[in-house]
């Protein structure tokens, strides 16, 4: 077959899959297209945060008989790498996850490039298929690896590396900024911007710039995970309502209506009030459990439209099971508006988290942007308010721009 295509028949016009058409359209919305790179940059910042700011040295040499830590005397070590997976140092799974990605993403990228070196003569469609498969396998392996690392619960005793720096004959190489996002320094409380602390410190003397960088992790995670939770709930309930109709549809619609009766923010505030010490996972869960109504209605509408399409009737006539019809035939055609809605949803979730933190019911210890904002309000420091506000503004704008571009790109009436 490939022979006949290459030799005898004229080259067939390259047809595009739906995804390629949407991507081609999306590229024409320049602002949205560049916003993708903006969000990628945010993601990279979140990933490389420990390289930028951490109070653990990359390299450490301490001569014999010096310093308070006897076990470190006369050793050369690389404590930074061990600290990345130290659950005593990073107490949240989110940080461990991003630290893991810091190694895993480059390794996967190198693996992909090498694979492409060996298989140069691939067509475009074959390459995109291989890429999809690679991403699937890589993320599966990644999830397994991360679970193993996380469940090993590696931890080591706390070492004050900053104090070792002052020792005679000790050589330590630190990251760019030598602070951690959670180490309290009572000697430097509520300082303004300086060369030591670019954006000053908060009331506990924590470096705000470091917290801002690590806050990227919190915001992105909350946005993505909360939206994943409510998209999953909305997809399942919307599919059931739309496909089966009748009583199922009635019950789910009433559930949606009841949920929509409550103002979402007050519902979230009430739910958050029940939790004594909310962590970011609680916040994600609360946002996820309250936000699914929009997606559910969207999916239900798509299912109602698609259920009577002939290709679904043909699938029934071919004797396929209901599960197969829902997941193979209807759902892939119904998810397209969900993507758009989810992109806006990520921005919304980030904003809700900032609001909650600002109102004092957010994750108390996490370095989230909302927390910085509220501490700025408490201490009346402009730098805190402006910096965290700017970070929130940029992230929300980028995500909304992507969402708008995606919405226009998937709408055939707005084709450019």
């Amino acid at each position: 077959m490939t022979d006949s295509q290459t030799s005898s028949s004229p080259p067939r016009p390259e047809y595009k899959t739906y995804g390629q058409i949407v991507w081609g359209q999306f590229k024409k919305y320049r602002l949205s297209y560049y916003s993708v790179y903006g969000v990628l940059a945010l993601f990279v910042i979140a990933m490389v945060a420990p390289v930028l700011a951490m109070n653990v040295p990359f390299y450490m040499h301490i001569p014999e008989g010096v310093g308070p830590y006897t076990q470190l005397q006369g050793t050369t070590s690389f404590p930074w790498f061990a600290a990345l997976f130290d659950q005593n140092f990073f107490d949240s799974g989110v940080d461990i996850f991003f630290n893991f990605l810091l190694f895993y993403v480059p390794v996967s990228l190198v693996g992909w490039t090498l694979m492409m070196r060996f298989k140069k003569d691939l067509t475009d469609t074959a390459r995109s298929k291989a890429r999809l498969r690679f991403i699937g396998i890589a993320s599966l392996v990644g999830i397994v690896l991360f679970s193993v690392i996380y469940l090993m619960a590696f931890s080591q005793p706390y070492v004050d590396y900053a104090s070792l720096k002052e020792l005679e004959g000790a050589r330590l190489i630190f990251p760019l900024i030598e602070y951690s996002y959670r180490d309290v320094d009572l000697m430097a409380v509520s300082q303004g911007p300086s060369l030591e602390h670019f954006l000053g410190t908060d009331r506990q003397g924590r470096d705000v710039f470091t917290r801002l960088i690590y806050g990227t992790r919190i915001s992105l995670t909350i946005g993505v995970v909360a939206v994943s939770i409510y998209t999953a709930i909305g997809l399942v309930l919307g599919s059931l309502a739309g496909f089966f109709g009748g009583r199922v549809d009635n019950i789910i619609l009433r559930m949606i209506e009841i949920m929509m009766c409550f103002p979402v923010l007050f519902l979230i505030l009430t739910l958050a009030g029940f939790i004594e010490e909310p962590s970011i996972f609680h916040i994600m869960l609360i946002i996820g459990l309250t936000g699914w109504t929009g997606i559910a209605r969207l999916v239900r509408g798509e299912f109602l439209r698609l259920r009577n399409q002939d290709f679904v009737q043909a699938a029934i006539a071919l004797g396929f099971t209901r599960a197969r019809i829902i997941f193979r035939h209807v759902l892939p055609n119904a998810v397209q508006p969900v993507f758009v809605s989810a992109t806006f949803g990520v921005a919304g979730a980030i904003l809700i988290e900032a609001t909650l933190s600002f109102l004092g019911v957010g994750p108390a210890n996490a370095p989230s942007w909302g927390q910085i904002l509220t501490s700025g309000r408490n201490t009346q420091q402009m730098t805190l308010i402006l910096s965290s506000g700017f970070a929130i503004f940029v992230t929300i704008s980028l995500l909304n721009l992507i969402g708008e571009g995606l919405r226009d790109a998937t709408d055939p009436k707005l084709r450019k």
Partner: protein, 420 residues
């Protein structure tokens, strides 16, 4: 055909759609889309199902495959009632009963390649596994006249006719006995229509298929069908062998329908029967005979008594009081109002007025067999040879004008026939 065993028998099939209103979804009525139809399809036979828009053709086709759950009735496939089957049993039986849809643009999943569209059923029903599936799909594509190399493509890369061929290949994938062609060619342009119809007829020979061919295009139905059922408002008005129905339509509705076939010969002016009024609402069908509101030969019992299905000549069933010995009117005026006189009226007695002349005229045209002219002037039927094999119909509306489209389609149709 008469010796062939009955493959599928439909008995008194009903599909009523409930109309619900109010706070508690009270049922306030129902749309009787299909209201008690009975017919049978023999092995290797094509039964045509024609009728106006909204008369329940499509609903009938879909509910006998249980794509819509029928309200009542029986559908016997090789003696088994498929309406009483459980889900698992039904799923395996579906291999034998397939459907081809009208709209080739919505009948293929836009997110699947041609290979998975056609091959999915093969793997699902474990007809074949692995690389065999691909070979089978390529073979099917070749059989329906597409290049086997198309299997990696997506539906949007094809034209309407090609998509319809893919739809046919999908229906054939499980090697069925019976296919419902739900307006399978109506959405295609006429030259492609002819190709697809010829393909369907070839496939029927090759795979021993039976079709229920639902259409509103009378010439297409005449070309492909062995027997034809004419539907009106959810009921079958007339059911007969193809030639018999076209030559000797009994039911006034059938006569009106056939008279609407446009004539390609401008010198031959057919007398067109224009039915008055609209199709009554199936929510609230007229009492008695459903056609009585528009029937030119309506008489007393039509308005009150529902007609029975009678068989004036063997194999020719008609649901009309005119042919029912119990009601058949003796009044010649009523028979004279009938647009076209039947060749062998069953119980007509007494003075026949000017009817014989017209009957002669139509029987002149009849021996030709393919001439579907409803009612013609005697002088003009003397020269039917020129266009005898060409007809085109647009009986969707009863007042079709012979515009450009139908003239084109007539040419294409005749071209297709000469090819065949």
């Amino acid at each position: 055909m008469s010796v062939a065993p009955t493959l599928l028998e439909v008995r008194n099939l009903k599909k009523h759609f409930p109309i619900k209103k109010g706070l508690f979804n009270r049922q306030v009525g129902s749309v009787k889309a299909v209201d008690g139809i009975s017919f049978e399809v023999n092995a290797n036979e094509t039964v045509g199902l024609v009728g106006e828009s909204g008369c329940g053709k499509t609903t009938a086709g879909r509910s006998l495959l249980r794509l819509l759950e029928p309200t009542d009735g029986e559908v016997l496939y090789k003696g088994q009632d498929i309406l009483k089957m459980g889900p698992a049993e039904m799923r395996s039986l579906r291999r034998n009963l397939q459907i081809i849809f009208q709209d080739p643009f919505s009948s293929l999943n836009p997110r699947m390649t041609i290979e998975s569209i056609i091959g999915e059923a093969i793997t699902f029903h474990k007809v074949a596994q692995g690389p065999e599936v691909r070979e089978m799909v390529e073979g099917l594509l070749e059989r329906v006249g597409l290049q086997p190399s198309y299997i990696t493509r997506y539906p949007h890369e094809f034209s309407g006719g090609q998509r319809q061929r893919v739809g046919i290949a999908r229906a054939l994938a499980l090697n069925p006995d019976f296919i419902v062609c739900d307006e399978a060619v109506s959405a295609l342009d006429v030259s492609v229509q002819a190709q697809v119809i010829n393909l369907l007829m070839d496939l029927q020979q090759e795979f021993n298929l039976s079709y229920l061919f639902i259409a509103h295009d009378l010439s297409v139905v005449q070309h492909i069908s062995d027997r034809i059922a004419v539907m009106y408002l959810g009921q079958i008005a007339e059911f007969a062998e193809c030639d018999e129905l076209y030559d000797n339509p009994l039911h006034p509705y059938t006569q009106a329908l056939l008279s609407a076939i446009p004539q390609p010969n401008p010198r031959r002016r057919a007398q067109r029967i224009i039915l008055k009024g609209d199709v009554p609402s199936p929510m609230n069908p007229p009492s008695g005979c459903r056609f009585h509101t528009r029937c030119p030969a309506c008489f007393a019992p039509c308005k009150t008594v529902e007609p029975r299905t009678v068989e004036p000549t063997p194999g020719h069933k008609v649901r009309c009081h005119l042919y029912d010995p119990e009601f058949a009117p003796n009044d010649p005026d009523i028979w004279a109002r009938l647009p076209r006189q039947p060749e062998a009226p069953v119980t007509v007695t007494g003075d026949e007025g000017d009817a014989p002349a017209k009957r002669d005229a139509s029987s002149d045209a009849a021996p030709d067999g393919t001439d579907g002219v409803a009612s013609t002037e005697a002088a003009e039927t003397a020269e039917p040879a020129a266009t005898s094999t060409v007809e085109e119909a647009g009986a969707e509306r009863s007042d079709v004008s012979s515009d450009n489209a139908s003239a084109e389609s007539a040419e294409a149709d005749s071209a297709a026939k000469s090819n065949a």
